[in-house]
């Protein structure tokens, strides 16, 4: 830790760093798994979709059904990719923003709240893409998206957005006071 008021960074709380590193690790594992188990994942999703024809609007006509399945599979794959991308990105965002909060936010309460919101929100949000992907074969693209939005994206994404703007405002205030 450094002396308050110096121009050095303070490190964020260890749990925040741990969350960020685990998130980046999950993203890397997710990316590798998408490549390694592509065939198995595709087979699994396809079999679950075929077992739920009514959910996906399958009509028993091969040409029509294949198009519907293809669209669901594209979204299933896209959601996994988005998990990979967002988890990598949010891991870095958590590190950069919590480090900023630890260094520049003077009030203990505000600092703690910003760090908790950034860590929890940033770590939870990418999981929404994993959930969306996992639910697509069971509930269809749109219904799965609605569940992921309500359960994860809106609360966790909202927490991240609110905390980032809060932190931005606090840093802007500090800059304005200094000048």
């Amino acid at each position: 830790m450094t002396v308050a008021g110096s121009d050095d960074w303070r490190r964020p709380p260890l749990p925040a760093l741990l969350v960020a590193i685990l998130l980046i690790a999950c993203a890397e594992v997710g990316g590798a798994s998408m490549v390694k188990f592509k065939l198995e994942l595709t087979r699994w999703a396809r079999s679950v979709i075929l077992a739920r024809p009514a959910t996906h609007g399958l009509v028993g006509v091969r040409d029509v059904d294949e198009q519907v399945i293809d669209e669901a599979m594209v979204k299933f794959d896209a959601a996994l990719r988005l998990f990979h991308l967002h988890a990598e990105g949010m891991g870095l965002v958590i590190i950069a923003t919590t480090m900023t909060a630890a260094t520049l936010v003077r009030s203990d309460g505000a600092r703690r709240a910003v760090v908790v919101l950034l860590s929890a929100g940033g770590a939870g949000y990418p999981v929404g893409y994993l959930l969306w992907s996992a639910l697509i074969p069971y509930y269809g693209v749109e219904a799965a998206k609605t569940i992921a939005e309500r359960v994860i994206w809106i609360p966790f994404g909202g927490a991240t957005i609110a905390a980032t703007w809060w932190l931005t405002a606090l840093v802007a205030l500090r800059l304005a006071r200094r000048s």
Binding site: W9, A96, G158
Partner: protein, 172 residues
């Protein structure tokens, strides 16, 4: 590690916050964004080359809407990536560059380069108002290229300053 000036950190945070908000907007208001884009294309028939043929016009409109959505998506991803990058590179500059003026120039380049993702917002607006091809060209020439060049220049300058600092060694 030393931190960069507050203004560089603020710009990095501002860009991250904009990127996160843009992601939410793209996700939650996609139909509204598409409707607005289609309305703007219809309001600017000449710049988009609409010919009055329903089939052709629908294709032109769809391509313009796709370009607008792509611009917003690029804005989201670049802002999320560039915000932390500016803070990180600023930290390296503040920690390893011993010369005050060189550090100042580096921070100025980073501060300008941090605004690069906003070029993709300009890209989306320009596509709607100037037509797809000329809008993209305009955004690239007047916004994306200058801002991106500032960032590239900043990164190259930092690398050069690190090398120079190492060569000078203890004298620096």
């Amino acid at each position: 590690m030393r931190r960069p000036p507050l203004v560089v950190i603020l710009l990095g945070l501002f860009v991250i916050a904009l990127g996160e908000t843009a992601g939410a907007v793209i996700s939650q208001f996609r139909p509204q964004v598409a409707r607005h884009a289609m309305a703007r294309v219809a309001a600017n028939p000449q710049v988009h080359g609409l010919a009055g043929s329903a089939e052709y016009d629908a294709e032109v409109t769809a391509r313009a809407v796709y370009a607008v959505e792509a611009g917003l998506s690029f804005f989201h991803t670049h802002a999320q990536g560039l915000g932390p990058l500016v803070i990180l590179v600023g930290t390296i500059g503040a920690s390893v560059v011993p010369w005050r003026r060189a550090r100042g120039a580096l921070f100025a380049l980073l501060a300008v380069g941090a605004l690069f993702p906003l070029g993709y917002l300009a890209y989306s607006v320009a596509v709607l108002e100037r037509g797809r091809e000329s809008g993209i060209e305009m955004a690239e020439r007047y916004v994306l290229t200058p801002l991106g060049s500032a960032l590239i220049l900043g990164l190259v300058a930092l690398a050069a300053l690190i090398v120079t600092g190492r060569r000078r060694g203890p004298a620096a």
